[in-house]
């Protein structure tokens, strides 16, 4: 074993973890690490233009690829700039490891230049975090950080690296295993409980699956599809679960909740057996909790015990990995062909009732001479290749994408669900594009949100990441304006984007391409052209300024109480 510096050991540790990409921004406290990174040709480093962008990129990389995203920034302001990105990943259970520089250990607590107690600041929004005070602990801390980030219910982990730790020397050996007595997630569901829930499901007459992001995180969408099809169970997904079950499947109900489909919300409300899989009963899903699935026995499969009975009382919980539990549930069907046939026959009227709801109130919008944002999304869906990765910003653009883009595969739709972070989509697209250079990556953006991390235009140009940003430019903070229209007597308090840049010129100023579309008949051509251009493109779709997202359940109302178009 030879002596190396903490910074070199850090690079060695990343290699051992199989890290091939890192996103970040340098500064005084991480000079040693950046010096070492210059020699690490096997790790592609992408310099963002703001640390928030770097964290979202690491997050987008993780969501698209299923691998742990890595981010490296300096101390103080560099570290505090990561907080929104970390909180975003935390809310959606995304595995990332964020490395922050820190002032030398002897200065910690002295209000030193660029000192921030980032471990203290991020304690409530990380799965766990570390301050490495001794270079001998570096390997163990990094090993544990990656392990904790990707196992159990995944999440962000932060590792704070004081400058003197990184430039001192160490006999380095990366640990082969972690030794964490107090952390052992449950993967295998309780067999007896799985048998019990299968008993309940087979006897149900109005069952529905409510699937969330946990299905994607557990790579369980194939098992979910097999299970749903075998039992002919209708499936609704959360925003985070979009793509975990193919949208085009006849059993698919689309999204549920505040902007969910009529069929999904009616199905859940009238169900006698709600099977929640990797979902957490968020208030945007449940609406008024007391009236959520009021007639249903509630089955909940989740790897995180704290999710169970947190918001809604669960009748039959199973703590475990969604994929393993679904496999267990499928195995329980062996030798029960009779019960299965009986159940499928008995639930036929229920499926017909659901089909009637779908027919009565499909998702829809009115065409006009002005471009409708929903139309743009339908056309993107029609034109973009099947393996396209779509990210969104937050607001109406996000809800319309969830409603009108027919996601068929998991990890094709990256969006900030839990925190609802405007400015997420563009840098997340950078991360996804870095993971999959050959695939089409599209950020469906709002004119407000895109301005929150627009500096990343320089990043896509520098690294020639051909991300396509489709701006649904309604001239408003549209989602907030919609609430003002519906619940505040159309008093549009500070929601007009009265001044926005000329997005075409802006893209060009950065060295990217810009297109503008003002007529519905030009939408398709513009999308095709954007996809044809080899580099990054901004397309500014000037859309109907006052189009609203429907259906909509007013906040706090039961979800069958929908405002329809």
């Amino acid at each position: 074993m030879k002596k190396i510096t903490g910074a070199q050991a850090f690079i060695e540790a990343l290699r051992c973890e199989g890290v091939t990409h890192a996103f970040g921004y340098p500064g005084g406290a991480v000079l040693d690490i950046f010096d070492a990174i210059m020699d690490a040709r096997d790790i592609q480093f992408i310099l963002s233009r703001h640390e928030q962008g770097a964290v979202h990129a690491a997050d987008g990389y993780a969501r698209a690829s299923g691998r742990v995203g890595v981010c490296l920034v300096t101390s103080g302001p560099g570290a505090t700039n990561t907080v929104t990105g970390i909180a975003t990943a935390y809310m959606d259970s995304i595995p990332i490891v964020v490395f922050t520089g820190q002032v030398p250990t002897h200065l910690i607590g002295n209000d030193a230049f660029q000192e921030a107690d980032i471990v203290g600041i991020t304690r409530p929004c990380t799965k766990h975090n570390y301050l490495v005070k001794d270079v001998c602990d570096l390997g163990r801390a990094i090993k544990e950080a990656f392990y904790i980030a990707r196992t159990g219910r995944p999440g962000p982990v932060l590792v704070d690296l004081p400058k003197n730790v990184m430039n001192s020397t160490v006999n380095f050996k990366y640990p082969e295993s972690v030794n964490l007595d107090s952390y052992c997630p449950t993967y295998k569901g309780h067999q007896g409980q799985i048998r019990r829930i299968m008993g309940v499901i087979l006897k149900s007459r109005r069952p529905v699956i409510y699937a969330g992001g946990g299905v994607t995180l557990a790579d369980a969408s194939r098992e979910l599809a097999e299970f749903a099809r075998k039992l002919k169970l209708p499936v609704t997904t959360t925003l985070m679960g979009m793509g975990a079950f193919p949208s085009g499947d006849p059993l698919s109900l689309g999204m549920l909740g505040m902007h969910g489909t009529y069929a999904a919300n009616m199905t859940v409300t009238n169900s006698d057996c709600l099977i929640a899989i990797g979902a957490r009963f968020d208030d945007r899903v449940t609406g008024k909790v007391d009236e959520f699935a009021p007639k249903a026995k509630i089955i909940h499969i989740d790897i995180d015990p704290t999710s169970i009975s947190k918001n809604v009382k669960v009748d039959l919980p199973v703590v475990g990995d969604c994929r393993m539990v679904l496999r267990g549930m499928l195995a329980e069907l062996a030798g029960k062909d009779g019960d299965l046939a009986e159940m499928i026959a008995q639930t036929e009227p229920w499926r017909r009732e659901i089909d009637a709801w779908k027919e009565q109130q499909p998702l829809r919008y009115c065409r006009s001479e002005i471009i409708k944002p929903q139309y743009v999304i339908e056309m993107i869906d029609e034109i973009a290749p099947d393996d396209t990765i779509v990210t969104t910003e937050v607001g109406q653009n996000q809800m319309w994408t969830a409603q009108f883009y027919k996601f068929k595969e998991p990890r094709h739709f990256l969006t900030s669900g839990g925190l609802g972070t405007m400015g997420y989509g563009f840098p997340a697209a950078i991360g996804a594009q870095a993971a999959f250079p050959g695939r089409t990556v599209i950020d469906i953006a709002g004119d407000g949100s895109i301005q929150m991390n627009i500096q990343e235009l320089a990043t896509v140009v520098q690294y020639n990441l051909p991300v396509k940003v489709m701006i649904l430019n309604n001239g408003y903070l549209g989602m907030v304006r919609q609430w003002q229209a519906l619940f505040y007597k159309k008093r549009y308090s500070h929601t007009s984007m009265a001044v926005s840049p000329d997005f075409v010129k802006l893209a060009e100023a950065y060295g990217a391409k810009g297109l503008r579309v003002t007529r519905p008949e030009d939408v398709k051509d513009a999308i095709q052209e954007a996809l044809r251009i080899p580099g990054p493109v901004f397309v500014d779709f000037v859309v109907d300024p006052e189009e609203d997202v429907y259906p909509m359940v007013p906040a706090g109302a039961p979800i069958n109480n929908m405002l329809l178009v």
Partner: protein, 165 residues
């Protein structure tokens, strides 16, 4: 409902703040808290008394278990247990009341741990109710200073027997 929970944690910097932050961040209540290393110096034991309905307590226990540095969570309500806390009271003790203070101390089996011409400092251990009774009796005499620890608890070895007073 008042509830005591024993939480075994890694004896490391920042762990207390993780636990306390969890309570404040999620709106759980901490009534009292006592922390000290266990016989194994790598671990500490925190005894937290809290209030909340069954669902809240369930969440508290699960959320505590989810913290990486939490090794074990033991809910005292699952077993019979003994509990103690301690108070120190500095009480006015001038001519007229000196003897009476000592008499009260004797009745409660409190100890005199410091003496001055005008005061006594008493220490008393016991469960919450005993301590509250003691303080109530002393208050009219004139409490000068008062400090109270958090609760510590231990499961009874022989469950289902009468408790010693």
């Amino acid at each position: 409902m008042r509830h005591a929970i024993s939480v075994y944690v890694d004896n490391q910097a920042g762990v207390l703040s993780r636990v306390v932050g969890l309570f404040s961040g999620r709106g759980f209540n901490i009534e009292s808290l006592s922390v000290a290393p266990t016989l194994d110096p790598a671990k500490s034991l925190m005894v937290i008394t809290t209030t909340g309905n069954e669902q809240v307590l369930e969440q508290i226990k699960k959320q505590l278990n989810k913290l990486i540095n939490v090794i074990k969570v033991v809910d005292c309500a699952d077993r019979e247990y003994v509990e103690r806390e301690m108070i120190l009271v500095k009480i006015k003790a001038e001519k007229e009341t000196r003897a009476e203070v000592l008499r009260i101390a004797d009745i409660f089996r409190a100890k005199v741990i410091d003496v001055s011409p005008k005061s006594y400092t008493l220490s008393l251990t016991g469960d919450k109710r005993k301590l509250e009774g003691f303080v109530e009796i002393l208050t009219p005499i004139g409490i000068i200073d008062f400090v109270r620890t958090g609760t510590v608890v231990m499961a009874r070895e022989m469950q289902g027997r009468r408790k010693l007073p």
